[in-house]
Amino acid sequence: MDKVVSLKWFLGIFTALFVLFLYGPFIVMGILSFQQGPEGGPQFPIIEWSTYWYQHVMGYAPPSRVAPLPIGEALIRSLTLAFATMVVSTVMGVLTAQAFRRRFRGSGLVFYSVILGMIVPGVLLGLGMALLANQFGIDRNWWSTAFVLHVVYTYPFAFLVMLAIFNRFDASVEEASLSLGVSPARTFRKVTFPIIFPGVLSAMLFAFTLSYDEFPRTLFTGGSDVTMPLAIYGTFAVEIHPNLFAFGVLTTLFSFSLLVIYAILLSVSTRRQRARASGLQEDIS
């Protein structure tokens, strides 16, 4: 038993170091985002603490030799792309997972060809798509060639999430609905979908996050209008500045607050449901 206890301590410390390793660059990034500007570079030491780079990201800083990040348009493109990808891949993921609830011949082949979409490295797929587009004389754009590849990438994730949800789904409620005279389509809308909705939500979250940050697939297929990751990649070639770090801190805070809002909404809705259930509250509807 002593050995197990010391092992536990060892692993605990190991895990703590691991977390430090994960967050190290993060912390450094946070510190350096407060570097003095516009002369201060993305390295130590801190010349003077300032919020200059935050102002720079927001576009409030006076013009200087550091070009502002192309946030406005690129960000909107990225968000639009992520939203469209989320919708399409979640719908397809739900449909495919629904099909997998019945046994059918060739299911193994279908399963692995869907999974292939998340396995094939993005550069390769981007390259193949670019070649294909060239061959057929199709213009490469973030909303066309890049979009379809984003879906190829996120659709398997949505599919796997929904497959796991359906594995725990009790089909007898659907049978109950059918036997009450409700058509299969309406049964899906009124029974199946509301029950699997939390799963659909996490599939959507997955797809959105992956698509928003996706970049190797976009590189060759995105055309001339850049998305946010492409804009950041563009700064690789030239010098990097702490404005990127400030932007990183801001986006992290943004997604963090989104998650907090989501969690609050979720707990409010469950509390309301519980209140309704115990009859303490009058029927709101």
Binding site: K8, Q43, L116, I119, V120, V123, G128, L131, L163, P216
Partner: protein, 282 residues
């Protein structure tokens, strides 16, 4: 009851999408790799010239070997670091909330753009970077270590940090799923901690290791951004080769590199899938 036709109707959108936008591009890549490449243009006359060039060039064949070396190093290091962490989260943390909290902690960094996370390693590893400053402050070293940044080492460190979570997640999931009573009854039967680990935890966590390895492999093999950000363009992986070739419109050459990369990756994934049936793990 829904008919078989209904099943195929449900599958149709996904399958058509996969055929048009996944299978077709891959086939196109193979096809283009046999086209004739001249300095300024590319013609659809079939030839193996690009393939011959690829394997006879030190630059490109060297890039392939370097890619494989870095991939295997990252794979092994992520496994060595990731497994103990996964073991701790999955086996030693009994509180479900704490377990989830730890896993979420591992995922939070993903909310920052991948590229910014890569760049954040620069002020960390540089000559005047955080690591050198701290090591000098506590007196372990006198002069800053210079090999930390813009070397293969920095590329490996960067990749390990970014991809290790994909190893931790699946393994922790599999270990966490092990029935507690199984371990308890083994303990009651007098099995030592090391026996329990070897005979129960290790085999049951193997699917997690496989899935994690597949994740890390496909991501590392397709990498180019970490290498270009942290090696100062000194370390060229196959991914970087593809980027530069496309940049100079040498499509056939890029396609050859792409096909080679696909073959390496497909071979590894196929071997892994022989060991574990992915479908049964969901």
């Amino acid at each position: 009851m829904r008919s078989n036709k209904g099943t195929w109707l449900l599958l149709a959108p996904g399958m058509i999408w996969i055929l048009l936008f996944l299978v077709a591009p891959l086939i196109m890549m193979v096809y283009v790799s046999f086209w004739t490449q001249t300095t300024f243009s590319i013609k659809p006359d079939l030839t193996t010239q690009s393939w011959v060039n690829f394997f006879s060039s030190d630059t490109y064949f060297g890039a392939l070997l370097r890619t494989i070396k870095i991939w295997l190093t990252v794979l092994i290091v992520t496994l060595l670091i990731g497994y103990p962490v996964a073991l701790y989260i999955g086996q030693f943390i009994k509180n479900k909330t704490l377990q989830t909290a730890l896993l979420v902690t591992c995922v939070i960094p993903f909310w920052t753009s991948f590229l910014i996370r890569v760049l954040a390693w620069r002020p960390m590893l540089g000559k005047e970077g955080a690591i050198n400053i701290i090591l000098q402050k506590i007196g372990i070293i006198d002069a800053p270590i210079e090999v930390l940044l813009f070397t293969e080492l920095s590329v490996i460190i960067g990749m390990v940090q970014i991809y290790v979570v994909f190893m931790v997640g699946p393994i922790a999931f599999m270990i966490g799923r092990i029935d507690e009573s199984l371990i308890e009854s083994a303990r009651d039967l007098g099995a030592s901690a090391s026996t329990i680990f070897r005979r129960i935890i290790l085999p049951l966590s193997l699917p997690g290791v496989i899935v994690g390895s597949i994740f890390v492999t496909v991501m590392v093999l397709g990498e180019f951004a970490t290498a270009s950000a942290l090696s100062g363009r000194k370390v060229n992986l196959l991914g970087n080769i593809i980027i530069t070739q496309v940049g100079s419109l040498k499509w056939a050459f890029a396609a050859v590199a792409g096909v080679v990369l696909t073959i390496v990756m497909a071979a590894f994934v196929a071997v892994m899938l022989r060991i574990v049936n992915l479908r049964n793990q969901i």
